[in-house]
Subunit: 335 residues, 2 copies
């Protein structure tokens, strides 16, 4: 049977939530990933040294071994330099949300006034703290990411020493931005390498494929696949795996988020194998992230097998993408 | 209190379903409309004289009085002239579905070969039977209607004496087609005068706003509003009200259809009033349809009041659009 080995897989964009959900969900990622960038959009968001230390402790208490590193983040505000210095050792990045743009982002940035942000972003540049950005405007849903490109341009040129990560990119427009500025990077989810809007609302409406940013057009999918499959050195895997209880998804108002954490590596193997690019997967799923973030994850070796795997219908009440469907790769062993 | 009176409102595109759903739903339309074009996409679809007579009887048995006229249709196939002559007196139109494009359309037309359709469409022209069309390709969900315009062009030019109704149009492209061919007409739903894709997936995902064709972009909404508010003589109101049980909507695979029948006139009053075009509503909701279809509906007078009305949270287990929300107009009286 064909197998494929991945070393130190990293999920550079992950939602672990808190409380019982955290306890249920964190072990699934810790099982197959060496580490993950942990998003700070709790309620209230993670914004202090105390918050971030306590959240990290809760995460470590929830995972069954010490071979998993949660790379912590705080929620962007216009922090001063003294504060940033005090938290720099505890965090790997700061996550910026435009206000109200996605789950628990109400306290985010409501206008991109570069001069108001300058002290914070210059301090982050000096301290080498990357800025992770949810790049969407409040415009029409299919245009939100493309409209945000001017903000990326403005941030990239105003702060040339700041590493800026365009999170969970979904468009050809964002792919084309990558090579325009040295300091722009991107994460790409596995679901955005599989879905277009047709898979969300083109047949039946599929709440478990609904996320923000929404999956876009076929030509956008092609652009994302192209850059991921060649493991462009500025792109990293970030699942944006975002669990919600079933009753928040199959509801009259369905929450945004696709839950992929426990099947992400299997799906990535299937996609890269389908295009005969399995040799590039290690770079996409770990090496690029290590270079970009300058991190050295704990050793972990994942062996995947090319055999049918039926995705469980739920994980502790959370419905994964492709629930009950059969995919082509399975995790055989973790060492 | 401000009131507005409508005479003989007509719903020129309605799904009444069958069985218990029919019994629950039909009275809601019969209460406030003089008549409605009844879609034939039952399982199996309505395709014979016997079917259509029996379905009409079931509808009449479900409505509480005789002041409502179901204008019957059959499901388009390449019928011969003798068959069409035999059913002509029992039907008002024939409905064409591309195969598999929406609820219960599996038996529809799988390719638009004009020469194969010619005998049927020429016979329909001679018998003055209008052709109602669900105009979508099987392309990307946001492009399906615009891509279908070439089929409308081909049908309109090949059969100049056939009245062709572009059903439930949702795009600027379809609005622009209306004046290009004398024999093209259109229905517009009330939800497509209110929603864009943002109201379906721009915030939370809203299954009760999910329908086919999907609501489109703001500029499409503007084009639809413009032509409806001026009651362009080639447009008619057709609700496309499409009930599904709640568990088929709030589900891991949500069925397409917005249920508006019991609130359609109230919402139309609100929209037309908001733009100071209430004087055009009678034409949009009845007079144009009478001219286009050459029908003379039973007398019915609906008096609406400009006062807050809380939309019920369900009608016999079917969740309406705007459930539990307050709208600005209510039905005061029906005579």
């Amino acid at each position: 049977m064909k197998t494929h080995t991945l070393l130190m897989p990293l999920d550079m964009h992950l939602h672990l939530r808190d409380g019982v959900m955290l306890e249920n969900i964190a072990p699934l990622t810790a099982y197959s990933f060496s580490g993950a960038i942990i998003m700070p959009n709790l309620v209230p968001p993670v914004t202090s040294l105390k918050d971030v230390k306590a959240y990290k402790e809760r995460i470590m208490a929830a995972v069954p071994n010490d071979y998993f590193e949660p790379y912590m983040t705080i929620f962007y505000k216009n922090y001063d330099k003294a504060f940033l210095e005090s938290v720099a050792d505890e965090i790997t990045a700061i996550k910026l949300y435009p206000a109200g743009i996605t789950t628990n982002s109400e306290d985010g940035v409501s206008s991109f006034d570069i001069e108001k942000m300058r002290p914070t972003l210059e301090a982050m540049s000096a301290l080498e703290i990357p800025l992770c950005v949810h790049g969407e405007t409040d415009g029409f849903v299919m245009d939100r990411e493309a409209e945000f490109m001017s903000v990326y341009e403005s941030l990239a040129t105003s702060f040339p020493n700041l590493k800026i990560i365009m999170e969970h990119i979904t468009t050809k427009a964002a792919v084309e931005m990558l090579d325009k500025h040295d300091n722009l990077y991107a994460t790409i989810t596995v679901h955005h390498l599989l879905l277009t809007l047709d898979d969300v609302i083109g047949g039946m409406m599929m709440p478990h494929n609904f996320c923000k940013p929404i999956a876009k057009r076929p030509e956008d999918l092609d652009a994302l696949l192209n850059i991921a499959l060649k493991a462009h050195p500025k792109v990293m895997f970030g699942s944006d795996s975002a669990p919600h209880p079933k009753d928040k998804k199959e509801s009259s108002g369905c929450a945004a988020g696709v839950f992929t954490a426990p099947i992400a590596l299997q799906l990535l193997c299937e996609i890269f194998d389908q295009y005969n690019k399995l040799d590039n997967l290690q770079t996409f799923v770990s090496d690029n992230a290590q270079s970009i973030y300058r991190i050295c994850p704990e050793f972990k070796e994942i062996i995947l097998e090319n055999r049918p795997f039926v995705v469980p219908d739920n994980y502790s009440g959370v419905i994964p993408m492709y629930a009950k469907e059969t995919i082509g790769w399975a995790i055989e062993n973790v060492e």
